[in-house]
């Protein structure tokens, strides 16, 4: 208990850090993931190849290595002096985007072809087919895997702590450097993460219930 009470401001900052890096990377991952999924299902071969290459590369690279790339190589390409938070969010977002892409793609693929054919045959345009028929059905399929992906993203955000982003793992390191016993520190950090992951799974369960339809 003492560990938490004596160092509450740092813990609070760490918790806020975890929440914010998770939130920012989630947005990046969603936008990029949907975009790459769009590439992978498009009728344009070069874009499809690009999407496939992207997913294969991102999936088979350890996240820690990706962090190294973003901290040491990306600033060289863009411009030096980017903040660790921005670089960390980008690394996490890029990494997770490949998983989001696969989830979205399999969601689209679960919509039976007949649905789209029926929509076209009654004269719907491409946009209408997408909006009214395909996407609502795909979204429902995508929600459970997305929930797992964002929980995994929260857990992966710990790695950002090793790259000088202020978050919960950083707090754990700081406390062990200050000589506190690791067991209570571990328990508090665990509780912090559990709060975030439970919130995410709760939100997604709500979403799922909202989107439920009788089939």
């Amino acid at each position: 208990m003492n560990v938490l009470l004596d160092n509450f401001p740092e813990f609070r900052d760490g918790f806020i850090g975890t929440v914010s890096i998770t939130a920012v990377s989630s947005v990046i991952a969603l936008v990029l993931g949907v975009l790459i999924a769009g590439f992978r299902v498009s009728p344009v071969p070069p874009l499809r190849y690009f999407g496939t290459a992207w997913v294969t590369l991102m999936r088979n690279t350890p996240l820690t290595l990706l962090f190294l790339i973003f901290f040491f190589v990306v600033p060289e390409i863009l411009f030096p002096g980017m903040s660790p938070f921005v670089l960390g969010s980008l690394a996490l977002g890029f990494y997770t985007s490949s998983f989001v892409c696969e989830a979205v793609r399999s969601g689209i693929n679960t919509v039976p072809l007949g649905q789209a054919e029926a929509a076209r045959s009654i004269g719907m345009t491409f946009a209408q087919t997408l909006q009214i028929v395909v996407l609502p059905q795909a979204t429902r399929t995508v929600i459970p895997p997305l929930s797992s992906i964002f929980i995994a993203l929260t857990k992966n955000s710990a790695i950002a702590g090793a790259f000088s982003v202020a978050e919960l793992f950083g707090w754990q390191k700081l406390m062990s450097d200050r000589g506190y016993d690791i067991v209570p520190v571990f328990i508090w950090v665990a509780i912090g993460y559990l709060i975030v992951t439970f919130t995410i799974s709760g939100l997604f369960r709500l979403l799922e219930r909202r989107m439920e339809v009788a089939r």
């Binding site: 009728p43 344009v44 998983f99 559990l194 709760g202």
Partner: protein, 313 residues
């Protein structure tokens, strides 16, 4: 191209339009890559001298040692996580309430915590001087929980008649588990199990953070200790090490895919689970039962990562 869910079979106009998109898209992608390479070249990261360092025997030896260290940690973690997975799944399916409760709590807790937190705590708390064992222990605990869930899904997918028949023959509970349920569960879940091993292999790179001299840690040491023309060769080192990692992971994934295809051909009547899940998310796909906020649970998880769910990863 035939019709898909999204697109009707293209007519002449659409064919032309798609070709235009193809050209524009390729140009855009090529431009992105070219600009990145130009920027790196401008700063001297692609100079031959930067890549020359990998011709030194010392550096090659470093990389070979690091590769061995990574594989050692991976081997230990693979064995540890599979053994723990079996123990946990037996506990979780036990008839004794306290045992079941303990196993379930253990699985749900460690599956929903970042692996890094666990590894770091083990390292600082118990194994400060043995970073390899700390890494292997942390990996085993987390991945053991995920493997336990995978095995549970496998056991649940074995038709009920199998265990009923075994009991009818007078087998004991242990015999049923060992000789009837487990073999079929492992067989049907092999691709998923190997998929999780790919995640385990990727996660050995967390040894970087507890200063275990695996590939990534070595890469950083090489890059920060060898100066070439007044610059540190981060780019070339990362490319070399990244290629090694990707090659290793792809090999393991290919094994999973091959086993899956082989399983589809076999006439054993055992259904093989779909291919290797996305790494990083726990690949617990068809597990019924409550999802205690951890990754996985709600069917399905593309794990991908520990992804993950299935994560994390």
């Amino acid at each position: 191209m035939s019709a898909s869910v999204l697109y009707d079979a293209p007519g002449p106009k659409a064919v032309v339009r798609n070709r235009i998109y193809a050209v524009v898209g390729s140009l855009a992608i090529a431009a992105l890559i070219a600009i990145s390479i130009m920027r790196l070249a401008d700063k001297g990261h692609l100079a031959p001298a930067m890549w020359d360092i990998f011709n030194y025997t010392g550096i090659r030896q470093n990389i070979a040692d690091a590769l061995l260290a990574t594989l050692k940690a991976f081997g230990l973690a693979a064995i540890g996580s599979l053994v723990l997975g079996v123990v946990l799944v037996v506990g979780r399916l036990s008839d004794h309430k306290p045992v079941r409760w303990a196993a379930t709590t253990f699985i749900e807790l460690f599956r929903s915590l970042p692996l890094l937190i666990t590894i770091y705590a083990i390292w600082v708390g118990f194994l400060t001087d043995y970073s390899m064992w700390a890494l292997a222990a942390g990996l085993s605990v987390y991945n053991g929980c995920v493997q336990a869930e995978v095995l549970r899904a496998g056991i649940n997918s074995v038709p009920k008649g199998q265990s009923e028949a075994a009991y009818a023959l007078g087998m004991s509970k242990t015999q049923v588990m060992v000789s009837v349920l487990m073999p079929q569960a492992v067989r049907s879940m092999l691709p998923t199990i190997i998929g999780q091993l790919v995640v385990t292999l990727k996660d050995t790179s967390l040894g970087f953070i507890i200063l275990y001299p695996e590939l990534l840690q070595t890469a950083r040491l090489i890059a920060s200790n060898t100066q070439v023309n007044g610059q540190y060769p981060y780019v070339s080192t990362i490319v070399v090490i990244g290629t090694l990692y990707i090659a290793m992971c792809l090999l393991l994934s290919a094994l999973a895919t091959w086993i899956e295809k082989r399983g589809r051909r076999a006439r054993t009547g055992i259904k093989v689970a779909p291919g290797a899940p996305a790494a990083g998310i726990p690949a617990v796909e068809t597990v019924p039962g409550p999802d205690a906020g951890g990754a996985g649970g709600a069917d399905p998880t593309a794990d991908g990562a520990g992804g993950t769910g299935v994560t994390k990863d």
